[in-house]
């Protein structure tokens, strides 16, 4: 009889490993917010931690912690549903566990080196052991090789398990997507002096991860979550998944071209990148339609309100952050002025949160529910569920507030620095000193504080929700496969 105490006995092997991944993900999420706050303070008070933890260090840890916690969340989510989806225990689970500890140890060492060593001499040794110095993939080369090795183990767990058990539409898409995701990382693992060629391949990793393979990966996670949360039929979610893959890859692969406008690549990318990236919001609209349809058909009835709440936040956040905010500055005619300003930061904040943080948080709630013996987490929670509601409210308010503040700063930069002053250093600093920019940075920091408060509440809630709950959640069985 469950009373909401933690009971890992009810979890399968993959799910127990997933809890490890989720725990580290949350620690890294907290690190992301902490170092984001430090960097945000430095915009307002530049002398803060000057010479100790400079902006470049804080900003690097901020974005790296984000990338890694999101990957930890995705990997955890896949381990979570691997056995249920395949019908057999995870193949090579012991190796998977070892890979988790290796990866986590490597991440710890990399972060310590970032913080304590920070920089090195201009030679290969630094790139190999301190910092590669390329945005988002700063991890030194030794860690790159380690990451690839761990990814291979993860891939073996996934593909091996499905091969032993049963394949499905979700698992097929997932497995192929993981091949692409891991393969793309290799495009970021070599040094080249030619900066145009460097950034060309660097975008293969960054764009084809974030705007293609990650989107499809969360599409798989979302598809599975909708079956679990609402009992949506497999036939429907899989059809939608294929539609989304077609639209996502159809727009996103060549949408890569919107990063090739200004880096020295040929002019045809202006047309190709502009056209295909303008199509990128379409699959995100489709996802919103899909989730509203499913939620409506099932009348929102479910036993895990926080998870469903965050899934809905994902659908809208993905559409607004990645879709609308991306589209607003994707055409070269406007991007000439917005590229490299706080516009990108505005888009980045809402897109990463809306598309990826949300779905991970939804999954954390699914995991917590099961870890507490599948307790009820729907309506009428003991304390009215104030913690999850407030944390969700604060996190969304905080991120949207930062996004709007950064957008205002981006507008101001585009006009003052770019259009009026012509992008010189003097123009750059004229824009940075403008009251509109300074006010925006103050508000960004304030909303960063709101986000941090939301995170504290979220962690508290994840640790306590369902405790002492004696009602059990009914098992949902997806509707039978439609005939034919």
């Amino acid at each position: 009889m469950s009373n909401g105490t933690i009971d890992l006995g009810g979890l399968n092997g993959g799910q127990r490993l997933a809890l490890h991944y989720f725990t580290v993900a949350i620690v890294l999420f907290a690190a992301q917010i902490l170092f984001g706050l430090l960097a945000g303070i430095q915009f307002v008070a530049p002398d803060f931690l000057y010479g100790v933890l400079d902006f470049n260090v804080n900003r690097m840890v901020h974005i790296n912690a984000m990338v890694v916690w999101m990957l930890y969340g995705f990997i955890g989510a896949v381990y979570w549903f691997l056995e249920e989806e395949s019908g057999v225990p995870v193949a090579g689970l012991a190796l998977g566990k070892l890979a988790f500890w290796v990866l986590t140890a490597a991440v710890t060492v990399v972060v310590l080196v970032y913080l304590l060593v920070q920089t090195g001499a201009g030679e290969d040794l630094t790139i190999w052991f301190v910092n590669e110095g390329r945005e988002y993939i700063e991890a030194p080369r030794w860690a790159d090789i380690g990451i690839v090795a761990v990814m291979l183990v993860f891939f073996y767990n996934v593909a091996g398990t499905f091969s032993k058990g049963r394949w499905s539409g979700i698992s097929g898409v997932l497995t192929l997507d993981l091949v692409a995701l891991a393969g793309l990382y290799l495009a970021g693992m070599f040094y080249v002096t030619n900066i145009t060629v460097d950034q060309y391949w660097w975008w293969w990793v960054i764009h084809l991860w974030v705007e293609a393979t990650w989107e499809v990966l969360v599409g798989c996670i979302m598809a599975w979550s909708l079956m679990k949360l609402l009992g949506v039929s497999r036939n429907i979610v899989q059809t939608w998944l294929y539609i989304e893959v077609a639209l996502m890859f159809g727009s996103g692969i060549l949408g890569l071209g919107h990063h090739y406008f200004w880096i020295g690549t040929p002019e045809y990318w202006l047309t190709i990148g502009g056209f295909f990236s303008a199509l990128e919001p379409i699959p995100l609209v489709a996802m919103v339609v899909h989730s509203i349809y499913d939620a409506g058909v099932h009348k929102f009835r479910n036993s895990n309100h926080p998870a469903l709440g965050w899934v809905i936040a994902h659908a809208f956040g993905n559409f607004l952050g990645a879709g609308v905010w991306g589209f607003m500055h994707t055409l070269p005619q406007i991007n000439l002025y917005t590229h490299g300003t706080q516009w990108s930061a505005s888009h980045g904040h809402l897109a990463f949160f809306g598309a990826y943080a949300t779905i991970n948080i939804a999954f954390f709630y699914l995991a917590v529910q099961k870890a507490r013996g599948n307790v009820w987490m729907g309506a009428q929670l003991a304390d009215g569920g104030w913690k999850w509601k407030w944390s969700m409210g604060l996190l969304n308010l905080g991120v949207i507030g930062m996004t709007v503040a950064l957008l205002i700063a981006g507008y101001e930069q585009s006009f003052v620095e770019r259009a009026v002053h012509g992008s010189t250093w003097e123009g750059y600093f004229a824009a940075q000193s403008h009251p509109w920019f300074q006010q925006a940075m103050f508000w960004r920091l304030a909303f960063g504080g709101v986000t941090a408060a939301g995170l504290v509440l979220l962690i508290w809630d994840l640790l306590t929700i369902g405790k002492g709950e004696i009602r059990r959640a009914p098992e949902l069985h997806p509707e039978p496969q439609a005939a034919g």
């Binding site: 902006f55 040094y191 900066i195 090739y260 003097e426």
Partner: protein, 198 residues
Amino acid sequence: MNDTSHWASEAFWKKAAVWVTAGSFALLIVLTFDSMAKTQAGGERVPAYGVINQKIDYRYDEAKKRFQPVIKGEQPLFGRKLDEAAAEELVALGKKTTQAKNCINCHTVLGNGAYYAPDLTKAFLDPDWGDLPAEREKLMLAFLQDPQTNARTYGTGRRMPRLGITEQEARGIVAYLKWMSAIDTNGFPHNFKTTRED
């Protein structure tokens, strides 16, 4: 639900997903080969590293209706002409140093990076370093090696930290910036005013 039309069926969209993905990827591969051929150093868009021996400007092109690098005449960096191999070596030292010092997490390069410090794409041509090449290069070297003493904060209080850049590394960075300023970036940044008026 036997009345599902073919275009709404799982099987149809599975095929669509496979073909659209494969088609897009194939096109990307073709374009990548073409882009690689057109962006090798020494090509039309990305200059040879020896361009650091030349005078570089950035001007509005009336026919193209956008800004474009103009490379004409000799103007060796630090007053010393280098052959292509030596130039590449110096630029490589500079690029590696910008990576080792994590410049990208304050600055932007070709518009990509963080937004805490100015874009470096055409920084070598920035008018605020003065009009005399020798003087400008000297200022840059001094600034890179000791940015605190030679701070250029324009009243914002935002100072570059001391990163332990050696003189040779600083020379490399300046060479890298000079080479980069000669890349044809399709007119980015727009309306950038360079040092020279002639």
